[in-house]
């Protein structure tokens, strides 16, 4: 990570997989800002593209397609 965070702990042995076709950002139900907040709505779109690229991403549920 750049710039380095103030406090960070990482467990090297615990890894989670992300599926580009299914991954999304969502507002917490108790968050003070909700859909319609332009700053975050647009950031969610931007960061999906930054993380996964422009796509399109095939669904892992598609028959015959191995994850």
């Amino acid at each position: 990570v750049w710039p380095w965070p103030q406090n960070i702990s990482v467990s090297p042995n615990r890894t989670f997989a992300l599926q580009p076709s299914l991954f999304h950002f969502q507002y917490s139900a108790s968050s003070a800002v909700q859909p319609g907040c332009s700053v975050l709505d647009q950031a969610f779109v931007r960061y999906l593209r930054i993380i996964f690229g422009p796509g399109p991403w095939l669904s892992p549920d598609r028959p015959g397609l191995k994850q």
Binding site: V1, W4, N7, S9, L18, Y27
Partner: protein
């Protein structure tokens, strides 16, 4: 385990406002078995957390995306983490500015210092004084920033949590202003006759201040940030010295030095800008020359060694009780062979003699990219990843300063910039999995 969402929680409502100097940018990011959650006080903190999240994700050679169990508690060390672009020495196309804002956000910079006009050109297309850009820009059709362009930059920056700090530098650095506003600049003399050349803004005429009042009224409404940068650096006194009207004015006022005359001008300008409920930043000469400043003024240190080493200047400014911003060691337009990012990285902004109260007046710093030898062809590689060194110094803890560890991470981050489509230059020998591809 597959995780398919990141939950985002923001504590404080508000989405339509602009980021400010004291906006809170802290966040926590938790990626564990129970949940993936990003918590922040404000949307600006959430933006910083999203950027961090994006950097944690790995892509395997087979195309799998994964992220490790992670806990992050993060906040910036300094509230003002800026980058200066100079759009007068060379015109920078709008797209180049927007791309720079993108990369600033990747580095958690939060202030775009727009040194928009200077001696060579006046690309800001003023509504009140359209002649300024019509006559002062390189090309009044193709090389200007229209009101629409300016608003685009401001909104693009806002959506990335970046403030736009506009600088209109006077009384020096104003040759381009004189083309559109006859009588604004001081006529220089050769002996007893005008030489045909012009110097700084003419400080002895009432109409100068009438113009400044109208001009800064527009600027105050166009740029929403509370602060404006009013410059005040490098005033060449030789033209004032040559002009008999200036000499008579100084005699009448009892001014013994040209610093006093400059102070007279700056004082009147500061009063004008204050009347529009704006705060201001000034370059260090304004403080050095003893101009009376309001207590909330920010003094911007840019001179590295003369007249004082910048650490002594920081000491003096904070001793006088003013907040200070550091740029002197971060002139990234200066280049040299080798890994010169390391010099920028090793700077410690609080490395001067002073009390804890003085140190608390250091609000941050800015990397500067002056434009004498920089245009759109070399802006991005000269800036990145070198400006990243400044970004980490201003965001991360004071204790994060191991150059070898930084090299590993910055080299990796530079590869990530290439993957994101940024033409960041290499730090040294090596390669990236994703080389730059247009």
């Amino acid at each position: 385990t597959v995780k398919n969402s990141l939950e985002v929680f923001v504590a404080v409502p508000g989405c339509d406002q602009f980021p400010e100097m004291n906006s809170v940018e802290n966040y926590t990011l938790t990626l564990n078995d129970d949940h993936f959650i990003l918590k922040a006080d404000t949307v600006w903190g959430a933006l910083r957390g999203l950027e961090t999240f994006s950097q944690l994700i790995w892509r395997s050679a087979e195309g799998m995306f994964s992220v490790k169990w992670t806990e992050i508690v993060d906040f910036p060390r300094f509230p003002h983490r800026g980058l200066l672009l100079d759009t007068s020495r060379h015109y920078l196309p709008l797209q180049a500015i927007l791309e720079t804002l993108d990369v600033m956000a990747y580095n958690k910079f939060n202030v775009f210092h727009w040194h928009i006009v200077d001696d060579p050109s006046f690309p800001y297309d003023s509504v009140t004084f359209p002649e300024l850009s019509r006559k002062g820009s390189y090309n009044p059709v193709t090389h200007i920033y229209t009101m629409g362009d300016v608003k685009t930059v401001i909104e693009y920056a806002r959506l990335r949590g970046i403030r736009v700090l506009a600088e209109f530098d006077t009384p020096g650095h104003t040759l381009s202003w004189g083309k559109g506003i006859p009588g604004l600049l001081t006529p220089c003399y050769s002996g007893t006759t005008p030489s045909g050349s012009y110097g700084p803004v003419n400080p002895i005429l009432n109409r100068t201040y009438e113009f400044m009042a109208s001009f800064f009224q527009e600027i105050s409404s166009v740029f929403p940030d509370f602060y404006l940068h009013l410059g005040g650096d490098e005033v060449d006194f030789s033209c004032w010295q040559s002009n008999p009207d200036i000499q008579a004015f100084m005699k009448e006022k009892g001014f013994e030095s040209y610093e006093k005359l400059e102070s007279f001008y700056i004082q009147k300008l500061l009063n004008i800008v204050s009347s529009y409920k704006k705060g201001y930043l000034v370059w260090q000469e304004v403080f050095d020359n003893g101009v009376k400043l309001s207590p909330d003024t920010v003094v911007h240190v840019w001179r590295e060694t003369k007249p004082l080493p910048y650490t002594m200047e920081m000491q003096n400014i904070t001793k006088a009780g003013y907040r200070v911003l550091l740029s002197a060691p971060w002139y990234l337009n200066h280049i040299s062979y080798g890994q010169d990012w390391q010099q920028a990285y090793q700077v410690e902004p609080l490395d001067f003699e002073g009390s804890p109260a003085q140190k608390s007046l250091v609000i941050g710093g800015e990397a500067c990219m002056w434009g004498e030898y920089v245009d759109v062809t070399n802006l991005t590689p000269r800036l990145w990843p070198r400006a990243g060194a400044v970004a980490e110094r201003l965001w991360s803890s004071q204790s994060v300063r191991d150059v070898d560890l930084a090299y590993e991470r910055l080299a990796y981050f530079r590869c990530e910039l290439l993957r994101r489509g940024v033409q960041a230059q290499p730090l040294y020998v090596g390669y990236c999995e994703h080389e730059y591809f247009q």
